[in-house]
Assembly symmetry: D2
Homo-oligomer: 357 residues x 4
């Protein structure tokens, strides 16, 4: 239940305040060059503490590969990666020990499991997504061999929307903004909320370029369904759109259909997926993040013994989780696409025969 994927399968482990977190990535084809610097670089993109738009909590997030790589190449065996927690210094948790933080998973974990790791989010902390980014980096290396690219950026913060999507410019923006024209307004909204001890939501837009036609295993491991699962499973995500998404429900068929010419589709309302299978066009997703539930205003809550209290959280938290979240979206999209690439290999009998003969 802590695993994702069918042929490229990753399992993660670890809690925010435990010894370490990490993952085991199973199914990487043998012979792939494993560029450790690239993996670390991806982790650094997600790492907290890089600016005032993120939590001030510092984590080294140094990844160590324990297995599955020999002389710089994948061997076909599971690649285990571990990230030791360095910033979980013993501190006073009495503030939150018995209190459910509103908007967090404390309440549901306590009732599901009957006990509580009161030191922080534990397993439900977004800190776990570091392991996804490490695994996603390897998926990206694999996709690169097929010239497939996964890109993303922030398209919306606190209702301020990008008008254009400049993926190449994302690397120059500290908030991974897609539209430099609205970037400053988005930044202002974040800092304004932060000043008021509040938080804001945001939207990540993800695009997969040059994916082969035919990815997706209908009817219950469809490309869009699995992407939706992968994205909705990221901390704080509350909605996922493929292509035009919600807007499709307001339009007419004559507007929404992507008509076809010999050299391709005339539009891409579908977001590159038809019948759960990639159609060769850009695969496009929008991923909606709620505002960080960790805010520093007083809120109503209860204790583990059902006592009502008014509660103010302390600590350091991201004012907008979508920012670092977009890196996780990219990683998850890369993992899904790489899995689908491998799964698709037995679709046609003549392909199977050609492979073996």
């Amino acid at each position: 239940m802590n695993s994702f994927g069918q042929k490229l399968r990753f399992s993660t482990f670890g809690e925010s305040h435990g010894t370490a977190l990490g993952c085991v990535l199973d199914g990487v084809p043998a012979g792939l060059e494993i560029d450790e610097a690239f993996i670390q670089n991806e982790l650094d993109r997600r790492k907290p503490g890089k600016s005032e738009f993120e939590t001030a909590r510092k984590e080294a997030d140094k990844v160590e590969i324990l297995s599955g790589v020999f002389e710089g190449k994948s061997t076909g065996t599971p690649i285990a990666m571990v990230i030791y927690n360095t910033n979980q210094k013993s501190k006073d948790y009495s503030n939150i020990k018995d209190v459910f933080r509103p908007g967090h998973a404390d309440f549901t974990y306590f009732h599901k499991y009957g006990l509580r790791d009161y030191r922080g989010g534990g397993r439900s902390s977004a800190r776990e997504t570091a392991a996804r980014v490490a695994a996603g980096a390897i998926a990206k290396l694999m996709l690169k061999e097929l010239d497939v690219e996964v890109l993303s950026g922030i398209s919306e913060v606190a209702g301020i929307k990008a008008e254009k999507f400049n993926y190449a410019g994302v690397k120059d923006s500290i908030i991974y903004a897609l539209d430099s024209d609205v970037e400053q307004a988005q930044k202002d909204a974040i800092l304004e909320a932060k000043k008021r001890h509040d938080s804001v939501g945001g939207v990540s837009r993800v695009v997969v370029k040059n994916a082969p036609i035919g990815l997706g295993q209908p009817l219950y491991y469809k490309l869009d369904g699995v992407l939706a699962d992968a994205m909705m499973g990221i901390n704080a995500v509350k909605a996922v759109e493929i292509g035009d998404g919600c807007l499709s429900a307001k339009t007419l068929g004559s507007q929404n259909n992507d008509q076809i010419r010999a050299n391709g589709f005339e539009s891409n309302h579908s977001g590159g997926i038809l019948g759960g299978i990639s159609n060769g066009d850009d695969i496009v997703l929008n991923v909606y993040f709620k505002p960080t539930p960790s805010i520093f205003q007083e809120q109503h809550t209860i204790t583990t013994t059902n006592e009502e209290v008014d509660f103010s959280l302390k600590g350091r938290h991201d004012p907008c989780v979508a920012i670092r979240g977009t890196i996780v979206c990219e990683a998850m999209a890369a993992l899904v696409i790489a899995d689908m690439v491998l799964l698709n290999m037995g679709s046609k009998m003549d392909g199977v025969v050609k492979y073996y003969k």
Copy 2:
């Protein structure tokens, strides 16, 4: 790849113009009373041809149980159900035989599998969802024993939105409308599009009432992730929201958090799910359907040999697939919840000990 679920697992088979379609539902606990009339009634709700708001194509959709039930009760063995196709009369397919219908899966299936069932949607046809509704009916019977209810209705058609959600009234509306005040306007929009040989999109709203706290297997079989997969995998769905969904991304943390009192949450922005686990509140989903791609206006397309043609579809099609789609959403939600109920049973060691001792 044609299966869904972990402990309650269903596999479907069949094409729109083949001999039969059906499903095998595995993991139903033994001793459940199987009310066949209820199952048939659920199928009748989804059945086409009931009104001018649906395709005129008639299908009996009579379900036959082949196994897994003895003396009116489930035996713990797989329940196979079959629905024979009765309306796939031999007809002239020359019109569409070599042409990709825009907005359909013809193009992607052809490229993935290298061949084509040219008689209609084949496996990708929404006709397959009859099998989901049959399986979902059994999931509903199982949930009923736990007093859990899954309801749904149409909240939006062609941009015309419900202001209130009256689930009890849905059975009295031929378009399953949640808000009788906007129902007529929604109907008018459908018929207007139909008259123009066009189609409209719509939104289904699904609610699960009285689900136990604790459903959902973090971190990669989360309740919201699996629901998103289940819904996005339904034909024509392009977006899924949990709770406030997209709106969450525009609000502040102080607005979006559901504060807690001794008798429950003060609001339900989260849609009943925190950290991927049910919190005891109503589980709320919005499912966005694109307009039916089958329209009767001329469109650009290509043939299987990449020749450009201008093409007009003939036949009978739903002017708004969301209408019948909402019954499928209900079925899928019921299947997901029932699966999660069974999966959750080993969460606590004392529960395991109590079960066996």
Copy 3:
């Protein structure tokens, strides 16, 4: 839990005295020619009532394909096959209704599920293996395209052992004997036991010829492990050997190692599998069947209310289940090998790149 396989996955349904039994085979590559006569012929090989060495119960065992095949070829969608039960005539079950038959699954099913299909073996009946043979036939068709062949025969009955293994001769033996020199003695042993209202055990030997090197997904979907699961899961099987099997435990390393020369291995003690992966040599299995538990002698047993009774079974039963069982072994071996063939396709990165570029 009623499914087997990863990329080629089959799910079976049905009981001995229900309406029908069948299977859904998912993952067959598109474009495979589906020879229905071959499938029926495989079923006929397993069909009861062909001679005095089998149960006298007659079953037509006519297979009907419901989906997944169009114009004689697989389409890549699930292939559902159904076999209606024709010989489950209403009869008097009062003899066995409340009594657990020794050596049968009645006792365990009753305790696991809390109820009982008292009309016969129900789901646990070997009748279900007809569905495996149908699925296995398609796996064989797929393997044939790769020149891989799965053969089997009876090597031992009631302790009388074959000295030579003539797979080509099996089709000429009514008991599928591998060694015509001991065939008559084996037949005599069966009829002798039958005369005494008793039954005998036997051994099936299975060989897979020309399987590619590299099949098997270490470490927990190994070729030998999965074959062992597949064989042990066949009704009445109590032991499985790979290659020299039990004998290996008595020998020295210097005797048991298969030394290697440029043109292949010098011996095949390993049964074609090293480290859970096929080595290109013949894959060899021995599958041990216990004597049919259905005998017509008086035995001690209890009722569902724990009352002790002395009980004599009536009816028609195979005196040696291994005979028809060998056809099931073949089918299961074919399904495992075909699954492994598909799973192996993403093992090397250069193979993946070659497939897509």
Copy 4:
């Protein structure tokens, strides 16, 4: 593909000469007391270098828990355990770098993956089984709460068979012998082979005591099938028997059936499993290990470039892998039984209702 189990699922990683090996155990119910000393003790039982009957290679095999345990109890989240390799000192591998060791997986891994970890067995080394023993120890702790016990010992070495099975005495035997009367002869056989630079095979006998009736998910996750897979997947295992195993094939139905009385079965030929489901009696397995393929005599082999060579292995190796293997058998049996215990929990509808209401 490096994972095992359905509800209690473990994934292992690591190679014999890499940085570390370990496992992630997912699905452990929350609230189980995790006795780390017990886990280490189980590892110590499998650890090499304890006597002349084992390889002289020393490994500390210290296990470190990275996640999933808080204040001494399981939290319901994945338990990751890691064992760093301490004895993989840089040495000269030129002897085996390009040579396939007969009886080993070198040949098949090389062909499957196209490259080679030439430093030793790599992933295929039995060293990986340390991770299984760590996971199995936790399964044992879980089973202990249900009073279920998994025991094992060596019943046969080099053809010298135990006449009695004294599980309690195993802890006093350095070779885990079940029968002290033949222990010395078994030891002599091992040392005799060792002296001749050869190796011997052996048999482990495993018993599960007090397992609940009803374990096993028919028809394709049967208890006997899964146990067979689990055992056959252990390094060097070539045959698995349930209960009387191979012997069953030689007997009559009247001898082999376990007749039933009000207080239980009159015999246990079935090994505690009927129809793939536990019947409440002892579950009994025999697991046959081939002789260690690593011997120090000259053997024929080839290089990775298909050149014929005569080759003598150097190094330190177990003269009889069955000895330490029996500890792995126990661990795997415990993991299977614990998984089945969790899976069985939704079998009956009244059990489900009782759990939730």
